[in-house]
């Protein structure tokens, strides 16, 4: 058998490299090179002039110096962190709460809830955003009119003049889209806790709380770590929700890192400055999700 295995896994062979070469080429070209270019770009002055001439002006750390000295940058960074924290907290708490209650639901209700969650999960981002925008539209909002019917007087209301209510709605769209994935993942993990373990714990005289702490919680912990990390990664870079809800021209009070970088690059054609913002955005994200990345690298190791 050894020789046969060797025929399948010959070591000094070009086969594996030929097999991964096309994928590697595309990934390096479309993802790898832009990462490298993002770094070089952030040290350059690169605008329309430079796109046409093709000759960038090297600035050293000038873009970063200018950014870090700009009070707006710090406002945007702080806003992005708060907004991300809010969305992650709401979607994880709501998702976990729902998943843990799902095991205690009547099977018909659980089935309908599960179907609803899948339906929401399947909604293309732009479809979901359009519907929410419609629900909170200025003139014909079902939400405003329902509130009015309950006896309040909101008349016609622009929900986005106030940034707090505006960000709450945008965060609501993001959380609404994220909760199904979180709930279903945690629920799947909960139902996969081996019965034998629970029975063994019960036989050994553990009460439900002890069972949760000693058996269920350790199994769920890695799932929570992954879900929280993924939520941070996704929510930190939220772009489309803000962009579409505010009609493709969000006012500066709505700038998050992603929008700020985008406006600098595509709005003002200051691609170098945009790249510097984007790079700082990646660094902030790396800092926050360091734990998760280390875990990913370990998985890569164990697979080799």
């Amino acid at each position: 058998m050894a020789t046969l295995s060797n025929r399948l896994t010959v070591k000094k062979n070009l086969w594996p490299y030929l097999l991964i070469a096309p994928s590697l080429f595309i990934i390096l070209l479309i993802l790898g090179f832009p990462v490298f270019r993002l770094i070089t770009l952030s040290f350059q002055k690169f605008g329309l002039e430079e796109i046409i001439s093709g000759v960038p002006v090297w600035l050293g750390f000038e873009n970063f110096r200018e950014l870090l000295a700009d009070p707006e940058f710090w406002v945007v960074l702080r806003r992005t962190f708060i907004f991300t924290f809010g969305m992650v907290a709401v979607s994880i708490i709501a998702g976990a709460w729902l998943a843990h209650l799902m095991v205690r639901m009547n099977s018909a209700i659980r089935w309908i809830l599960n179907t609803t969650l899948i339906l929401v999960w399947a909604m293309p981002a732009l479809v979901g955003i359009s519907v929410w925008k419609w629900m909170f539209s200025y003139e014909f909002s079902i939400i405003t009119s329902t509130i009015n019917r309950l006896g309040f007087d909101f008349a016609q209301r622009n929900w986005f003049t106030n940034t707090f209510s505006g960000f709450s709605i945008i965060g609501g769209i993001v959380a609404w889209g994220a909760v199904p994935f979180i709930t279903i993942s945690i629920y799947a993990a909960l139902t996969q806790v081996p019965k034998e373990l629970l029975e063994a714990a019960a036989i050994d005289g553990a009460n439900p709380r002890q069972i949760f702490r000693a058996v269920i919680f350790p199994i769920l912990l890695p799932i929570y770590v992954i879900l929280i990390s993924l939520s941070i990664i996704w929510d930190f870079q939220v772009f489309t929700q803000i962009w579409i809800v505010l009609d493709n021209r969000p006012p500066s009070e709505y700038y998050t890192m992603a929008i700020y970088a985008f406006e600098k690059s595509f709005g003002l054609s200051e691609y170098g400055m945009g790249a510097a913002i984007a790079l700082l955005m990646i660094f902030s994200l790396l800092g926050v999700t360091w734990f998760y990345i280390r875990k990913m690298v370990q998985i890569g190791d164990s697979n080799a």
Partner: protein, 274 residues
């Protein structure tokens, strides 16, 4: 793990169903309402009568046919190419040993975390330089790059569960290695290929930001960008927008229900068990 149902859990469940389901209901019900009823300052939860006018208006709207065609082309090209390449790469990872494999796998995992809204700047400049903007091929190849890491990783998971012995048996029986892959391994991978194909389909069908930046001319819109075009400086055409949104969502909902289970466990189990 299921316990006796509790009233509190059931009430929460109903509450969650209403809260999560309402936007979907509101989209479909608005799409079936008459125009006067859609743009009413006192909207009703139930349509008084049903009509398909909004669907007719949406289909008649400029750009529907072209953006539908564009979306289908981009999705098909993306799915075929990414699956084809991912099959090869995943066989290499799951079935062979080679130097640099560790770094390849690690970079596959890391690359999936890169924020698109940060990469879009150099990506746009790169595609401009390669003259790939405003070309369906340029958009498709970009999608392939973004989808490949996940598809390779998922297919690798499927392959890891197929015993090597089966291919070895085929080799004993006189197959060449290529034949063993083609006639033995590939059919066994079929369920994995279908699941990843659907995943790639959904990603490419739903994607907005890249298409919005790369495809700027009116003939090159994809469906999500077309949806965004319902809002102009003079306002939004809500009824037809809800009808169009429903139409764009339907294929995804259908495909999604097919692979939902696999994705739910796939994302987390791949990362936990490795």
């Amino acid at each position: 793990m299921h316990k006796r149902s509790s009233i509190f859990a059931n009430i929460s469940g109903v509450f969650a169903i209403v809260l999560m389901g309402f936007p979907v209901y509101w989209m479909v019900s608005t799409s079936l309402k008459k125009r006067e009823e859609v743009i009413s300052v006192d909207p009703r939860f139930l349509p008084s009568s049903l009509t398909l006018d909004n669907y007719r208006d949406a289909f008649a709207r400029e750009g529907f046919a072209t953006s539908l065609r564009n979306s289908i082309i981009v999705v098909l090209v993306t799915v075929v190419i990414s699956l084809f390449l991912a099959t090869f790469a995943s066989v290499a990872i799951a079935r062979t040993k080679f130097r640099g494999k560790k770094s390849f796998i690690t970079s596959l995992l890391i690359v999936q975390m890169l924020p698109l809204s940060a990469l879009i700047i150099p990506l746009f400049l790169l595609l401009t330089k390669l003259q790939l903007t405003n070309k369906l091929g340029g958009l498709a190849i970009t999608y392939v790059a973004f989808i490949l890491p996940f598809t390779i990783w998922t297919l690798r998971g499927f392959l890891a569960n197929i015993p090597v012995d089966i291919e070895e048996a085929a080799l004993v029986d006189g197959c060449t290695r290529t034949q063993a892959y083609r006639y033995v391994l590939l059919p066994l991978m079929a369920p994995g290929l279908v699941a990843t194909a659907i995943f790639a389909f959904i990603q490419a069908w739903n994607e907005f930001l890249l298409a919005y930046i790369i495809m700027q001319s009116q003939d090159n819109l994809t469906l999500p960008v077309w949806l965004a075009s319902f809002t102009t400086r003079t306002g939004t055409d809500w009824g037809p927008l809800m009808a169009a949104s429903t139409v764009v969502a339907i294929p995804v909902v259908l495909f999604f229900s097919l692979i939902q289970k696999r994705i739910a466990t796939g994302v987390t189990s791949g990362a936990v068990k490795g």
